[in-house]
Structures are given as structure tokens and as C-alpha cells.
Amino acid sequence: MASTIRVRAVSSGEVTEVQALIQHPMDSGYVKDSHGKIIPPHYIQQLTFEHSGKNVLVANWGPAVSKDPYIKFSFKGAKKGDDLKISWVDNKGQTDSTTAKIH
């Protein structure tokens, strides 16, 4: 199955800027479907970015994060060609992860 995680990681000098877009419904549990039934909550709870065995960002999310969530942040200490590992886990225990190259 195709990864749910899209990453753009670009190094400029000592700073690497990371943008990620993740395919996930981020259902809050407050919305009803067309039949009037509540759509159960289904949202990513934790998203981690790892470089050289160290977490460079840990995102703790609630259902108020938008559908197909986006994040942008920057960190130091990486260079072009390095790997960046991204993983997430949601409230249903589902997970996905991917490794992207830093450009």
C-alpha cells in the first residue's frame, strides 16, 4: 500500500527544513455522517521525526488538527543525503512510517 506520508526535507547550510503532509481522516468524533450517525474519532495521536537515532520532533495531536494533517519545522545537525524517519500512530492503534532522504 502506498505510504500515507509525504515529506520534503531540504538542507540549507546547517538547517534542515521539513514539511510533511499525511493522508489521514483526523475524524474528531463530533461530526455526523449523511445518515445522522456520529463518525467515530479517528486521528493521529503521535507523530515522530527521527534523525541519526534521535527524535528531532515529537508531535502530540488531538482531533483538532485538520484532515490530511500538515506540519513544518526545522532542525540542525543533518546534511544532504541523510535519512529522516517519520512514524505515526493513531487512536485506533494504526500506524505508518517512512524514511525520506534529506535533499
Partner: protein, 292 residues
Amino acid sequence: MRAQLTTRLGSATLALAALALGAFAFVAHAATPNEKIDPAADAKAFRDYFVTKFPKVKLDDFVNGPYSMNADMRKQWEAIEQFPPYDFALDEGKAMLSKPFKNGKTYADCFANGGIGIRQNYPYFDEKEGKVVTLELAINRCREANGEAPLKYTKDKMAALTAYMAYTSRGKLMDIKIPNDPRALAAYENGKRYFYTRRGQLNFSCASCHVQNPGRHIRAETLAPALGILNAMPIYRSKWGALGTISRRFTSCNKQVRGVPLKPQSEDYRDLEYYLSYVSNGLPISGPSSRP
């Protein structure tokens, strides 16, 4: 009961409020048999109207709809377009384009250049059949000709595929042709008639919102100008949480004026798309695009 357009004027649209409403620079009625249908003159008048009404908006920027006239909204849109939510659908559309049908053929067998970089030529007038063919219609015809079930016109796979095809045409200028054929001219004129005809319980025409009130509010929405309005299609609306096609927008607009929507790809809708696309010739394709 005639409803009134509620107008909430933000600072960005205050200047626009000073402009008189409803002064059309061209005749907005269907040509009688003795009048010559002149699409080129229409298109020039249409463009001149918007350029005059919004002198600060660059011509190409009209395709960005409400974002061309509201700085606060534009900033949000630019943030979203940095990594847009339709990214996944683009990949889906790209995969669809190259995946063979059950009979081994692909879309490349139906479309010029394999379907890449051709969106700006749609719709066109099919002189053999005597009707307007839109991109969405052409896609389903291709499928049916190759033994595949047609796609639903409004969203999902049709949206993903038209999104990818639009994406490959980004920057190319809308290039709709009207052959010197009375049937083509009649279709164009029918689209124009539809555009200016009031309908629904709210008794609005397309022009009521998109020619008379672009940049202003109707309830909580900011109206897009009609010039270039289809160049951004299909659109990923935050409201839908998904992509929607031209068919989806036409049917939902009809519902919004509390009219009964036509079936997607009915003659009036195809003719409407023909008219609206033609009068936006020369503006760049920007689709797919995010919208509120």
C-alpha cells in the same frame, strides 16, 4: 420570495463597494436570429469588465478566485498551497492515466499526447456529433469505448484524473475554439444564456454572484469572479474535505440558489462550460487548486 444578497464588507473589499453594481459593458441576452453571435467581442467585453472593475488585480490572477481580491484569505491559501491536500489525488490521477484498461488500451489511445498538457483545449465542439465535449465527458467516453464502466462525474476518481490532467497543463493558456459552425455558435450562445438566466428560489443567475459581486460576501463565502473561474478546476474545498469537479460545482451552485440541479454533463452544463471557458481564453490553467 426574492432573497437579498447579504454583503459584509471587509476592509479589502471596501473599495469595491464604491463601484456601481450591474453595469454591463455588453448586451446580456440571447442573440435573435438577425443578430450576429460574436464570441470574440463577448470575450473582450467580458475581460474588459473585470479588468476595469478590479484595476489592481493582474489579469492572470483572476484564476485564483477570491484570493485575487482578499489579502487575508490569500495568505491562508498560499500557506495551504505550499503542500496542498490534493497532493494524494494527483498521484492517484497520474497512476490512473497510465494504468491499462481491461482490454489493454490506455487513456493515451483516446487523448492527444497521452492526456498530458491538453486540458486547456477542453471543452471543444465535436462537429461530427454536433455537441460540446468536456474533459469529464471525454474521459467517460474513453472508458466506455474501452469496455470500462463510467466514473461518477462529481468526485473521487474523476476528480483525481481531471486534477492530474489540469496539473500537467498548469501555466498553459485556456484555448477554446469555436468552429465556424452554426451549431457550435448555438451551443456557445446557449451557455451564455444559461449563465445570465435567473433560477432557483433565490432567483439568482450565475452572473448575480460572479459578475455583479465578486470579492464580496454571500453569507460567509467570498465570491469568485467569473473570469477564469474554471481555470482552477477541479478544486479541493476545505468544505468538502476533498476534490470536486466542474460537474460537482455546477450542481452544488444550482442547489445553493435553491434550484433543482441538472444531471452532470447535461447539455446546458456542457454549453455553460463552453461559454465560460471561451470567455476566459488567454488566462492560465491553475488547477487543481485549494478553496475554502
